[in-house]
């Protein structure tokens, strides 16, 4: 009844459109040799503009006119296939189509490898309605990328921020991570971290994924809060009645730590029943990595240098499953689940040389952090005669638990001098600074934090196919509700000595590395935190706690928030011969409430009070979206998109937690009235695909950001900013809206076999992409004063690199393949300082990786990977390139293993 009512309404609203009697053609497309599903294959009805493409599971759905019809199936690298059908009114026809490769190489044992992954990705990219890049699972395996962030760095226009050498956050077209929306199976996932929305993608093992989609232009059926782009991580689904088991085992070595690492993955998938109605897939993976870094940091303002010796143990556990049941070709339900757990035990042993204070600090931090992400999607797809209906409920949660964060610092009254003749390695002169007898306890801090973020989402989508003259089209309508709860709790205790606690030599341990920064600095014996804590526990009467510092830290950082999002969209997709037009509008309304605490510090620097605060805001957006694709030739597309989108502020900026420090005459305040960043995006792209599975593409993009968020200082302002002032004059630092930013750039990408080259060179293939972006952001000038508070500075957008690119050269012959990959991340502004002299930049970095594989037979393959061949450091500088403030080295690490596919 309901479905008829909806159909009638739409018929009434859209006069002039025709719904002839139709048949439903549903099917799957596979490789004829290895039965692999082929994603992104085009299926068209000959003589019409009725075209569709297979999804990530190689399945398609076509509403077709009745009678004698010819179905044409095309797939890059495979022979075109035409199937004749006689379709009757209201018939549901199920097809299983197998395609033959047009290249011998594809049908050989190597079909399991690189080229087929590339074909899957490029076919999906070619047939997508919007501008997107796809990394297929087979492609993920080509590069030695253990997590989703590192797999994404190979995509044009994507660069990543690393932590301890491993990729973590994703920047799309150089926009900071909060401008990129991250989803699992099409639905946003919450961030395990406390004060941000974006997700650290190093928590998700790459081998849990069937593919990764990076959408650079939006369509109305996608979430609108994506300015840079939208990343969708898709988990795997069972494909055939034959049990498929994939497994890999690898062991490796980290050259800096001189320790091994292990990795394993096991996947089982099978469709059961006579008609393969029930599918189940289980995937598990585990990665244990011992790593570290040698880090040198400098603070030019304070004339201080830090030597940091990092030791880390990281693990990644991934468990995912997909269970689906197809009642018949038109109705199915599914349950998808993903659980990932990333743990990070970090020991940071460091010296801080403070010549101005004639002090040297020495201490160790021992911290364990576990991030977990859980998503469960329960949904159904129904294909009725006149329309289809998809709906889904999702539960997802992100959790970051730090059960302990213990840091102990000793201090010695040893004078030191620092010389910067060689800015890369400052000269440090300090007599006897490695003698631990010189160091007395300064402070011990013991912390525990728990951040939780939970989403409950319900959504539906209705698709109504129609015909306009001889052109097929689709109207889509949908809605979504999402309820988010986010909270952060912290326990932090500080202890200082009230007695003669033994000097550091009583708690020392042997160094963990043979040398630090190539033997340039002698770190002596470091502090063992556990040894100190044993003493602390046995002698508590020698310590006093600092309840004031505890109260300030805990009150300032803890909060809880609720956010409800209501969204609806309407769109139409119309094919006009070679032109596809997709247009529509999305509406999103967000209602947010927060609870946090204000901290008031009096003129003498003492805590005066902690005041609970509750606040909230709401905002809404109408987001028109339009995309066109014109098929110049069978292999060449022109694309354009004009879209509106936005980005929600980070929780840390919007929660009303405040610190009013009357001693320093500075108040920092959250801004619950902060508006989201609005964006208008223009994209133009030309792409030419090669029949032998390759692509050459180039395009321009432009983004105009309104209400850009920046940190503003309101000099000598009354406080609070509204209502009765409690303080007449104080400098208030607050994230505010009001300024604009523009980003414009172009990107080019090429990937293909170099088979035109002579001799053995013909077995080479090249994968290359480059993105240039230019941005300007207008901010309140750092030189603004009370007399000219509206002075402005023009800067590059923080996080936005002008140059980003990849070059990967592969050799593939018979059963052997090898690849050397260069990933280039250009310099970018990392932190906006109080003055331009304080601006901090991250320097260019080129990482070189090598991987090779050998297929022993159709089931077994061995592989080897070496990362960071050239030992590229992570480097930051302040204001000018000669003023390096951080250099961090990781050395090389690698793996060797075996993969099994059955």
């Amino acid at each position: 009844m309901t479905t008829k009512w909806i159909a009638c309404c739409l018929l009434f609203l859209l006069p002039g459109f025709a719904w002839a009697q139709q048949a439903i053609v549903k099917g799957s497309i596979r490789d004829a040799v290895n039965n692999e599903v082929l994603t992104g294959a085009t299926i068209s009805l000959k003589g019409t503009n009725n075209v569709t493409a297979t999804d990530v599971n190689g399945e398609f759905l076509l509403y077709a006119g009745t009678g004698e019809r010819q179905l044409v199936v095309r797939y890059l690298g495979y022979r075109d296939t035409t199937i004749s059908l006689d379709l009757k009114p209201n018939e549901s026809r199920v097809l299983r189509i197998e395609l033959l490769s047009s290249y011998a190489r594809l049908s050989s044992v190597l079909v399991m490898g690189a080229l087929q992954g590339q074909a899957k990705a490029l076919n999906q990219q070619k047939n997508a309605d919007n501008i997107k890049n796809i990394v297929a699972s087979d492609q993920i395996g080509r590069f030695p990328d253990p997590n989703a962030a590192e797999a994404l760095q190979r995509v044009p226009g994507v660069n990543i921020e690393r932590d301890q050498g491993e990729g973590r956050y994703v920047f799309v077209r150089g926009l900071a991570p909060q401008f990129t929306n991250v989803s699992v199976n099409g639905e946003q996932i919450p961030s395990p971290e406390a004060d941000v929305r974006f997700v650290a993608l190093d928590a998700i093992p790459a081998d849990q994924l069937a593919s990764i989609e990076v959408s650079k232009s939006l369509t109305p059926d996608m979430d609108g809060d994506a300015v840079g782009g939208s990343v969708n991580l898709i988990t795997r689904t069972a494909q055939s009645s034959r049990p498929r088991i994939n497994a890999s085992v690898a062991g490796g070595y980290n050259d800096l730590m001189r320790k091994g690492n292990i990795q394993g993955q096991l996947q089982y998938g099978q469709r059961l029943g006579k008609q393969e109605k029930f599918g189940m897939l289980f995937n598990s993976s585990y990665y244990h990595n011992d790593l570290g870094s040698d880090n040198l940091e400098r603070s030019p303002q304070d004339n201080e240098v830090e030597l940091r010796d990092y030791q880390l143990t990281r693990t990644r556990l991934g468990l995912s499953t997909t269970l689906d049941y197809k009642f018949n070709p038109r109705h199915e339900i599914y349950l998808r689940g993903l659980y990932s757990r990333f743990t990070d035990r970090e020991w940071r042993r460091r010296y801080v040389f403070k010549p101005e204070e004639e002090e040297i600090e020495k201490g160790t931090k021992d911290r364990f952090e576990a991030q977990s992400i859980t998503t469960i999607n329960l949904g159904a797809k129904h294909n009725f005669r006149a329309f289809y209906l998809n709906y889904e409920a999702q539960y997802s949660s992100g959790r970051q638990n730090t059960p302990y964060d213990n840091e102990v610092t000793f201090v010695a009254g040893i004078p030191s001098t620092l010389g910067y003749n060689n800015p890369k390695y400052p000269d440090i002169t300090a007599t006897n600074f490695t003698d631990n007898k010189e160091y007395e306890l300064d402070e011990a801090g013991f912390g525990h934090t728990l951040a939780k973020d939970r989403n409950l989402t319900a959504k539906f989508e209705i698709g109504i196919p129609y015909k306009w003259s001889n052109n097929s089209g689709l109207i889509k309508l949908g809605g979504k509700l999402r309820s988010k709860k986010k909270s952060y709790g912290i326990t932090q205790d500080y202890y200082s000595p009230i007695a003669d606690v033994p000097t550091l030599d009583a708690f020392e341990e042997d160094p963990i590395k043979k040398s630090f920064l190539g033997g340039r600095y002698n770190l002596g014996k470091p502090l063992n935190v556990s040894s100190f804590i044993r003493y602390f526990n046995a002698n508590p009467s020698e310590f006093e706690s600092s309840p004031e510092d505890k109260a300030i830290d805990e009150a300032l950082e803890a909060y809880d928030a609720e956010e409800n999002v209501y969204a609806a969209f309407a769109m139409a997709r119309q094919q006009f011969n070679k032109l596809m037009v997709l247009a529509g509008v999305r509406y999103e309304r967000t209602k947010v409430t927060y609870n946090s605490k204000d901290v008031v510090i009096n003129g003498e620097g003492d805590l005066e009070g902690i005041v609970p605060v509750s606040d909230g805001s709401s905002y809404e957006f109408f987001l028109p979206q339009a995309s066109v694709r014109y098929q110049l030739s069978r292999y060449t597309n022109l694309r354009a998109a004009a879209t509106f989108s936005y980005a929600r502020p980070n929780f840390s900026e919007i929660i009303p937690a405040q610190e009013i420090n009357q001693e320093d005459k500075v108040a920092t305040a959250g801004n619950p009235d902060l508006k989201p960043v609005g964006a208008f995006n223009l994209d133009l792209l030309a792409e030419h695909y090669f029949g032998n599975v390759g692509v050459l593409s180039g395009g321009f993009f432009y983004k105009r950001l309104n209400n850009f968020i920046y940190r503003r200082v309101l000099f000598n302002s009354p406080y609070p900013l509204t209502g009765t002032p409690m303080i007449d004059e104080i400098d208030v630092v607050q994230a505010q809206n009001g300024n604009k930013a523009n980003v414009a750039g172009f990107e080019v990408a090429f990937q293909n076999n170099l088979s035109f080259l002579p001799g053995a060179f013909k077995y080479l293939s090249l994968y290359a992409n480059y993105t240039y972006a230019h941005s300007t952001a207008t901010l309140q000038s750092r030189t603004a004063t009370e007399s000219n508070p509206n002075a402005v500075d023009k800067l590059r957008l923080p996080g936005q690199a002008a140059h980003v690119g990849n070059i990967s050269l592969a050799f593939e012959r018979k059963k052997f393949n090898a690849r050397v990959s260069f990933n280039f991340n250009g310099e970018y502004l990392s932190e906006v300082g109080g003055t331009s002299d304080d601006d901090i930049f991250v320097k260019n970095r080129i990482q070189t990786d090598f991987s090779a594989g050998y297929a022993i037979n159709t089931h077994w393959r061995v592989f080897a990977e070496v990362m960071n061949l050239t030992n590229q450091p992570f480097e930051r500088y302040m204001a000018n390139k000669d003023q390096l403030i951080q250099r961090e080295y990781y050395r090389q690490w690698g793996r060797f293993g075996v993969k099994f596919d059955w």
Partner: protein, 343 residues
């Protein structure tokens, strides 16, 4: 076989988190709740003039987090049960036997600003062996601090000579009686009581405010940090004293004008006073002349905090103290001012 392998690997994956080194070589520190109550001396030391007839030290508890949230900066959480705190004299100088100086001991605590346990006749058990220097005192439940007061021989050190040798006693806590892990004593910190020589700089010195030049110099010096002193007329002043005490300097201007002062329920007519207090940073107290430096934080009219410092030299000759000081407050400073004070 294949099924069994699958099972093994799934089990391995399930237990994989055990390999994350969460607990490797981990020692968990005492939590804030498990952290014991610590009994400490409330100060590192005190001092009194050589003719004092008593001295005392106070024992208190370290501040803890206030779970009620009323005092977020933390407060003393009184004990739920009384404990006995043991102490001893670990060192003494300037006399041969403790018994020569200490005559008796008592303990008390404040019930409110006007009432002590002694006033209410509450007995706080305390004992002190003048032979061994070992003592103990009960730290009652429900109180924030307990004071141990020693009655001493006021004539032992009261001579007419300037003594350059130290005369002092040092106490240390030795523990809590019983096996109470929830209350512990800080056994390394010490309390030092020093006997101050009133032939030296310690004690009260008077400024001759009737001497116009001397009064002007006094105003120029201390008017820097006190507007009332800056605007003072000699006719308004009854008496001006500069007191050198243990770790502290007090400048007290007693005005002619009187006011009613209520103290513990009784009203008394007293002279109004202007007072400046400052902590001694440096003082050559074992000689009759030397350096002096004292200072303190001060809230300015615009609510900001500034620190003032007075630095200079002094010379004691009999009952006369000549002190040469220069004051600094933020960017302001006085010229060098010489004051001549008398005992």
């Amino acid at each position: 076989m294949m099924k069994r392998s699958w099972l093994y690997i799934m089990l391995a994956a399930f237990f994989a988190p055990a390999c994350d080194k969460e607990n490797d070589d981990l020692v968990t520190p005492l939590s804030a709740n498990a952290f014991p109550q610590i009994v400490v001396f409330d100060d590192e030391g005190d001092g009194g003039l050589e003719d004092e007839d008593a001295f005392s030290f106070k024992l208190t508890l370290l501040d803890r987090n206030d779970s009620t949230g009323k005092e977020p900066a933390g407060r003393i959480i009184p004990l739920k049960e009384a404990v006995t705190v043991n102490f001893k004299v670990i060192d003494f100088q300037g006399f041969s036997k403790i018994a020569d100086y200490i005559k008796a001991v008592k303990a008390l605590y404040e019930i409110d600003d006007c009432t002590t346990s002694e006033d209410k006749g509450i007995d706080v058990p305390v004992q002190f062996d003048v032979t061994t220097g070992i003592g103990s005192v009960s730290f009652p439940a429900g109180v924030e601090e307990v004071e141990v007061e020693f009655e001493v021989d006021e004539d032992l050190f009261d001579d007419k000579l300037f003594n350059t040798k130290k005369r002092e006693l040092t106490f240390q806590l030795t523990g809590i009686t019983g096996n109470n892990t929830q209350v512990q004593a800080n056994k390394t910190a010490a309390f030092n009581y020093s006997i101050q020589d009133d032939e030296g700089i310690y004690g009260e010195w008077e400024v001759d405010h009737k001497n116009a030049a001397e009064f002007a110099r006094f105003k120029a010096l201390f008017g820097l940090v006190n507007e009332d002193i800056k605007n003072l007329q000699a006719s308004e002043v009854d008496e001006i004293a500069v007191e050198f005490e243990y770790g502290e300097v007090k400048v007290v201007v007693k005005l002619v004008e009187e006011e009613d002062v209520e103290e513990c329920g009784s009203v008394e007519r007293k002279n109004k006073e202007i007072e400046i207090e400052a902590s001694i940073e440096d003082l050559t107290d074992d000689e009759l002349e030397g350096d002096v430096e004292f200072g303190e934080k001060l809230e300015l009219d615009n609510s900001s905090i500034a620190e003032f410092v007075y630095k200079g030299t002094f010379k004691v000759t009999g009952k006369k103290l000549v002190i040469v000081l220069k004051g600094e407050l933020d960017d302001e400073e006085t010229s060098k001012v010489t004051l001549t004070l008398e005992k």
